[in-house]
């Protein structure tokens, strides 16, 4: 918790106590009816509870409950029975289509608009005068760049004396009563606790209880449970109308307490929260669609299309989804394995793996594949092992982090057995344990399950209480600060590790390391080449070339080594302008996704934001003109300009933050399966092959939040630009006329121009030199 000065702390305590005292006084004098209602709610609950308990022994008739009745002091005009409700509905629909009623409604609306209109009309004249004055004042020109006007300086002083201290003190007070949870960081990778969660302080808890009491929330809770306890033995479903009436009367306390403007704000905040949640739900639905797409096309995927079609964006997006998909899939599969021996001590296995990761730097899937058979051998031979050897082996395991006391993870095998009949075969407990261990390790994989030729930021967030960790695979709701704290960049591809033939560095440290992962390769065709571009290479070359490195052979076979429990955890996602630029040997291992330039306009998935969007578009149009006017005429920053910026920044920030969170667009992918030489699936009319168009959803929040850099190859171009002897484009020669001179043509170093000179027999310095040479 933040440390405050002693005086400030005393003031904060005093203010909190004052708030509590005021709240209590209001409870006594303003909300006395709520206290009565709470007592009635408690009575209803108590009697219903007794009624329910006696009902269990068929003695419920001995208790007279009160929850079904309207309290004597409560007056309501709402329907209290089904017949009254029917009558209410009849009156409602009659009114709904009644001409006079519609007229009365519009009279009411007209009255409200009339009031607003009066205010607008009254304020038109001062605003028009202000606008005219501002125009006259600001029509002048000044060049006092970087200086502030006197009025602005005066305003800034007022701000620094009044606004900022008050704002800071409110922020500090909020921090005092609603402090952030202290951050915790430990070496164990699953024990990061870096979220910015807040927890209620003591004062806030007391205030919350008082106001829940005042606003009848406690009463509503008591009445709800009272009715729930009353219902099973009374079967009085018709009484629901009385309960609704009571609920409406209880809630009316809140409506009567706050003024209309405050209710409008509360209503807007609640509505905003609802629509934001709805927006997130829509993004999550789209993400589910994306994952379904990745499952429907399990092979390698190649995104193709012209430059700037968004190929790298699509494969980067798929990389993020694929990793979450694998982790979730591994978890679900491990749960199935777990049910083969439900009473196995799975916790010991999980904690042992977590410890091994921390103690053994080279711990990997292969370590599990060696460790579990080791345990099996020792368990099977337990009666033949000497006590000394068994103890020594266990001691060594425990030193590495093993949590069990025997070779079977403390499992009570005598009671529950070591074999499971799944109707296909008899499964040994160690086979299940091996699968479960590998799947658990994949689920909690300590780094991204991805490698490639460009960096992709992967956010893997965990919630853990020290036992089984929960993957928080949220891609949309996390704030940028939290997301960055939980992020890691992908592994760098080493192509030698993917070559079965000649390698560039046969002694490379990481040549045998890729046992799993999604391989994301941009500009894949330039790496692999095709039959034509690889023409000059000889298979017998000593130097590593695309023709002798057997990269594609590895791509075809690696799934044999990366399959765990019938699920392959390896796939290649690549991009290239044309599929034909890539070796057929690789192209036919998966599907091509030709990106269509359609539906590229972003849509904001948060509902009911059209008015906000329109406000921003109009404000932006006005500000565009104002910016030009102010910036061209004035170097001096004035008060009016400052205030306009203040207002506009509110509209600007709100729009762009919502846009960046909820905007998404759909990419249409024309799928082509090169393996069978067919485009798409199925046939269209007249027996012609029909292209299959799949839709992939691209969310800004997911992929544009510094996940990858679309210009990552720019590094090499920077080096080239740095070498320039003259500068940039600005320093290069320009045409002097609308005609091109021969020297200008010569300067272009063009193949075409060279031929033109040849056709027309024009002698240039170069041709002369060539003739002399």
């Amino acid at each position: 918790m933040k440390e405050y000065g002693k005086t400030k702390k005393i003031i904060f305590h005093a203010v909190s106590i004052a708030f509590i005292v005021i709240s209590l006084l209001l409870s006594v004098f303003r909300f006395s009816a709520s206290t009565l209602r709470t007592w009635q709610g408690a009575r209803d609950f108590g009697l219903s509870f007794a009624y329910n308990m006696l009902g269990l022994i068929k003695q419920e008739s001995r208790i007279t409950t009160t929850v079904q009745d309207l309290p004597s002091n409560m007056v309501t005009m709402l329907p209290l029975s089904f017949s009254e409700f029917k009558q209410f509905l009849r009156v409602f629909f009659e009114l709904f289509i009644d001409k006079d009623n519609i007229g009365a409604f519009f009279v009411e609306i007209g009255y409200i608009f009339g009031q607003v209109g009066t205010i607008v009309l009254i304020s038109i004249l001062p605003f028009a005068m202000l606008f005219l004055l501002a125009f006259l004042l600001y029509y002048t020109v000044d060049n006092q760049t970087g200086k502030k006007s006197g009025s602005l300086n005066c305003w800034l002083k007022i701000e620094s004396v009044l606004y900022y201290p008050v704002k800071n003190i409110i922020k500090e007070y909020i921090e005092f009563i609603y402090p952030k949870k202290p951050g915790r960081y430990e070496k164990k990778f699953l024990l990061h606790d870096l979220d910015e969660r807040r927890q209620m302080g003591g004062y806030l808890k007391i205030l919350a209880i008082i106001w829940l009491w005042n606003f009848n929330v406690i009463t509503i809770g008591l009445e709800f449970f009272a009715y729930l306890l009353y219902l099973p033995f009374s079967m009085d479903f018709g009484n629901i109308f009385v309960q609704i009436a009571k609920l409406a009367v209880d809630l009316s306390v809140i409506i009567r307490f706050f003024p209309t403007w405050a209710l409008c704000i509360i209503g807007y905040v609640a509505f905003d929260k609802y629509r934001r949640n709805k927006g997130y739900e829509r993004l999550e639905d789209d993400e589910d669609d994306n994952r379904r797409f990745l499952e429907e096309y399990p092979g390698n995927l190649l995104a193709t299309g012209p430059p700037r079609a968004g190929k790298t964006q699509v494969i980067s997006d798929m990389t993020l989804s694929q990793q979450i998909l694998w982790r979730e899939k591994a978890r679900k599969k491990s749960l199935r394995r777990c049910m083969e021996f439900p009473f196995f001590e799975w916790g010991i296995l999980e904690q042992s793996i977590l410890q091994f990761i921390l103690t053994d730097e080279t711990f990997c899937l292969e370590s599990i594949r060696a460790w579990i058979p080791f345990m099996k051998t020792h368990f099977t031979a337990r009666n033949c092992l000497s006590n000394y050897y068994a103890k020594k082996a266990l001691h060594e395991l425990k030193a590495r982090g093993y949590q069990g006391d025997d070779f079977i993870f403390n499992y009570d095998y005598k009671r529950y057995g070591t074999e499971y009949d799944n109707a296909l075969k008899l499964v040994n407990v160690f086979e299940t344990v091996e699968n479960y261990a590998q799947e658990f390790y994949l689920y909690i994989y300590p780094s991204p399950l991805q490698f490639g030729n460009y960096p992709i930021r992967t956010q893997t967030r965990w919630k853990t209480f020290g036992n089984y960790p929960i993957l928080k695979a949220d891609l949309f709701r996390t704030s940028p600060r939290v997301s960055m704290l939980w992020s890691q960049y992908g592994h760098i591809v080493n192509h030698d590790a993917l070559r079965l033939g000649v390698k560039k560095n046969p002694k490379g440290k990481y040549n045998d390391a890729y046992d799993i992962g999604v391989l994301t390769l941009s500009e894949l065709g330039k790496e692999l080449g095709n039959q034509k571009t690889n023409n000059g290479y000889d298979k017998k070359d000593v130097k590593c070339t695309p023709n002798n490195d057997l990269w594609t052979t590895n791509a075809k076979m690696i799934s044999h080594g990366t399959t765990i429990d019938f699920e392959t955890y390896f796939r290649i996602l690549g991009d290239e302008q044309r599929a034909m630029s890539i070796l057929a040997d690789f192209r036919e291992l998966g599907s091509e996704m030709k990106i269509q330039r359609k539906n590229r306009k972003d849509k904001i998935k948060m509902p009911f934001f059209a008015w906000g969007e329109l406000t921003y578009i109009l404000a932006e149009g006005i500000m565009d003109k104002l910016f030009l006017f102010f910036k061209s005429r004035h170097g001096l920053t004035t008060l009016l300009y400052y205030l306009i910026l203040r207002v506009y920044s509110v509209i600007f920030n709100r729009y762009w933050r919502i846009f960046n969170t909820y905007a998404s667009y759909d990419v249409e992918l024309d799928m082509k399966d090169w393996a069978n030489g067919e485009e798409g699936r199925g046939t269209g009319r007249k027996g012609r092959k029909k292209n299959l168009i799949e839709t992939y959803h691209i969310s800004r929040k997911k992929i544009c939040s510094d996940v990858y850099n679309t210009i990552f190859w720019g590094t090499v171009y920077r080096e080239k630009f740095k070498r320039s002897k003259v500068g940039g484009l600005h320093q290069t020669p320009q045409f002097t006329d609308l005609n091109v001179t021969t020297s200008q043509m010569l300067y272009q170093e063009s193949h075409f121009n060279e031929k033109v000179f040849e056709y027309f027999g024009i002698e240039t310095e170069r041709t002369k030199r060539a003739q002399v040479g």
Binding site: M77, Q87, F92, L95, A610
Partner: protein, 43 residues
């Protein structure tokens, strides 16, 4: 009509349509509440 207004309408007609739709929805919802309040009074 001014060219800029025409362009604005062409670029944002779906947005304007949505704005009008939401306004109509708000009006209908308000009318519903108005009818409920009156129906309760008349009962």
């Amino acid at each position: 009509m001014k060219k800029s207004v025409k362009n604005f309408l062409r670029d944002n007609w779906t947005l304007l349509l949505r704005c009008a739709g939401y306004l109509a929805l708000l009006l209908i919802a308000s009318y519903g509440v108005f009818c409920v309040a009156r129906a309760v009074k008349f009962m």
